[in-house]
Symmetry: C6
Subunit: 76 residues, 6 copies
């Protein structure tokens, strides 16, 4: 089976869940702008801009909400 | 029955679920701006703009949340 | 009973559910700006603007999330 | 008991639920800007602006999601 | 025990729940900008701006969604 | 085991839950812009700007929604 970047939403801990949410968020940019060089060129535009960093955090928050629910909030 | 672009929210894997979320997001643009040429002309405006790419990621995140819930988070 | 534009959130399929989410989204604009002529005049402002189209997609995504939950994700 | 503007989230129909979501959304503006005259002066700024109308629709969509869940999606 | 500003999410009514959502939203600004004078100076920037008032309403809508779920939608 | 910044989503109270939501939100900025000096330089851009403060509050609201659900809304 071809390698999959998102085999599961299940993680061992909230911290891993957060990292997965970051990965999903970044993949959303990748799927919209596949060219790595363009993405790299755009980095200063968001990484050095307060409002852009806040907007990125919102995307991560939504994806983290999904991953947390998927893991029953790691309440084991 | 006419061909349907969204027969089901059920997918085999999170990765397929993510791809469906991207499809639903793109269809939202299509239903608002049906003209393919216009949509293509607009591509540089969002694909080469950090804030626009972040905003697209947010739409995908919300649709992915819906698809993930629809699939019981693939915890089968 | 006066004709109702939103008799139910139940639809036969995800595709119909998506169409209902679009209808609810458009009705939100109508309830805020009842004048059809004004709304029509504004169309180029959003239909030919990448960020506006993305913002519309986000509204549709939230309403689709509501309609999908209302239909048990059409898992029959 | 003093008159309450939000005695319940329960409504008879989705259409009434949508109207309640609009009411809750408008009340959020009122609680932040209590002065009716100021709010009226601001109306052209959002009612004749595509992006503002879309942003209003997003607030209504979130409140409608809450009201719909509160009513079990009117599935009776 | 030191005085807590958020002892519980439970309220007696939707209206009290809405007021709590407003309180939580305002506290988010306070925790990010603790200086009351600065916050007061910024008031005209959002209280007299349509888009800012809409954005505030969105934050209240998300917090109200949380409080409403916490109270079982006051369906008692 | 290496120190984890997010061992659990469980907190003793809504107020602690809110503080955790703030921590998760701030960590989203950190994971996107790891350089502390840059983040510090950007503080005036958002801490003294009404719209940025509102946008931060929205991120906190989404993360608080996640943490509140994780704690069963502290209904004990």
């Amino acid at each position: 089976m071809a390698d999959t970047w998102l085999p599961s939403l299940v993680t061992d801990s909230p911290e891993e869940g957060f990292a997965l949410a970051v990965k999903i968020s970044r993949n959303s940019v990748k799927v919209t702008q596949p060219d790595a060089e363009t993405r790299q060129k755009l980095r200063p535009d968001y990484a050095d801009d307060a409002d852009s960093l806040i907007a990125v955090s919102q995307v991560i928050a939504i994806n983290f909400q999904t991953v947390a629910a998927a893991n029953g909030y790691w309440r084991g």
